[in-house]
Symmetry: C2
Subunit: 268 residues, 2 copies
């Protein structure tokens, strides 16, 4: 796959680009198997839901799995990311949000970049996410909601929270009680102008979205799992300063080597 000029323009305008069924059923099956395998292991970076049983997310999987190490170098993803960011890129974060059937919890409205700025000292929002659907994403299983064009606002007021409720550690950046969520007034104003979109499609679909694009997702009360793999590419000209105590390596990669695309058969 090569993205077109129109797609790039669309991405700059809306902050997102959806490519249905980029990966084949076989490729998805292999990635699902790798996720299942990692979910069973009590490794750092495995986050549980409030019920302390269901796996909420897996972080840093590209370091623990061959297929995910290949995925981050997949030419379709990598070339698009480089074009969108106008630079070579390295891997900043790799995670799988599992949003399990019946129990996957909410992700409050937020922008990703504020976390990377505040927690890691990332100089500018020259980073983007590539979400790979590991399950069909439908209207029932907690699809991501986006406010298109909201990335053009750069940073927006943060939610006023009772800080005693939210512990000051990296865990609070990956739980349902997010440290930097957006307040309701901001969301209401933004959606009044720009609406909400929730891209849906079969497993294997891919969604690029800007690091400042406002998004969230409702809990999953359906019997359908909604596993979503998210690769974050950062520009090699945008290395974080890591002020203070850096977050764990499985959350923020320290390897800033520019990624090179693989050739031939990439995943299977």
């Amino acid at each position: 796959m090569e993205i077109t000029k129109e797609q790039i323009e669309d991405y700059r305008e809306t902050g997102l680009l959806f490519i249905p069924e980029l990966f084949s059923t076989k490729e998805v099956a292999e990635m699902q198997a790798a996720v299942e395998d990692l979910s069973k292991q009590d490794i750092p970076g495995r986050i549980l839901e409030k019920d302390k049983k269901t796996v909420r997310a897996l972080h840093g999987c590209h370091n623990n799995s061959e297929i995910f190490d290949s995925l981050i170098r997949h030419p379709s993803l990598l070339a698009s990311a480089c074009e969108m960011l106008n630079s070579d890129v390295y891997i900043y974060q790799f995670k799988v949000n599992l949003k399990a059937a019946f129990s996957g919890d909410v992700w409050p409205w937020h922008q990703d970049y504020v976390f990377w700025d505040e927690e890691d000292g990332m100089p500018s929002p020259k980073a983007l996410n590539v979400a790979v659907f590991l399950d069909e994403c439908n209207e029932f299983n907690g699809p991501m909601y986006f406010i298109p064009g909201s990335h053009q606002q750069s940073l927006i007021h943060l939610g006023q929270k009772d800080s005693s409720e939210i512990p000051n550690n990296w865990e609070s950046n990956v739980s349902a009680a997010l440290k930097y969520s957006l307040d309701n007034n901001t969301i209401a104003k933004l959606t009044h102008k720009k609406g909400i979109v929730a891209p849906k499609g079969p497993a294997g679909s891919v969604l690029f979205f800007h690091s400042n694009l406002v998004h969230g997702s409702a809990p999953n009360i359906s019997p359908y799992p909604r596993r979503l793999l998210i690769i974050t590419y950062n520009s090699i000209n945008n290395i974080p300063s890591f002020k203070g105590k850096p977050r764990p390596e499985f959350l923020v990669s320290r390897d800033h080597t520019p990624l090179k695309p693989l050739r031939g058969k990439v995943l299977i």
Copy 2:
């Protein structure tokens, strides 16, 4: 409006019938104003969300409001209900679920009839709901999810809950921790066969659904309120026995007089 034979057949098969925009914008505005008025009053039957601020639901509104007293006698609703239930009907319950923007909570998967059987001694499921959309219902504001055809299963296993979590009083029938919800396996099996539907449409749309139809809804994280008015009609041949201590009158009407349709201008 008169419903057709095909619509009745469709209702019997699927357990639901959706009529978009039955009420005009003006009629909806009047009903919204009545709800707003009732929400401000500290009356019995007003239920709050877990935050103890947001109004979750209003019960028995037909007794506190002229427009809702007229609504339950609206010929389009009443005639359809009588035809679907093959009998004269009376008003059993009247409620408004407000599902407020940003805070409206989950309704777990359940069937209504089990509550009316267990709590009130309703002899058979010869009752139905008429839901009137007081706001646009869209994919973002917590629309009701239904498993079409699930009413044909009559009663299904109930969720195994830690009963210490759920108090044994009428409040537990109207909160997000429902007393008689369905277990995940049952929902997974049912949806595997029959799928899920979520009727969406403008304010003023109307949805008839069977008392045994399995339904639920996700929390509303959107900036759009999703106020839903629900009238429950019961057959006059299906009067509850009220075994034990009856629930409050605002939850279960004791007036079993068959309703007669109004003529001329009904609401405004």
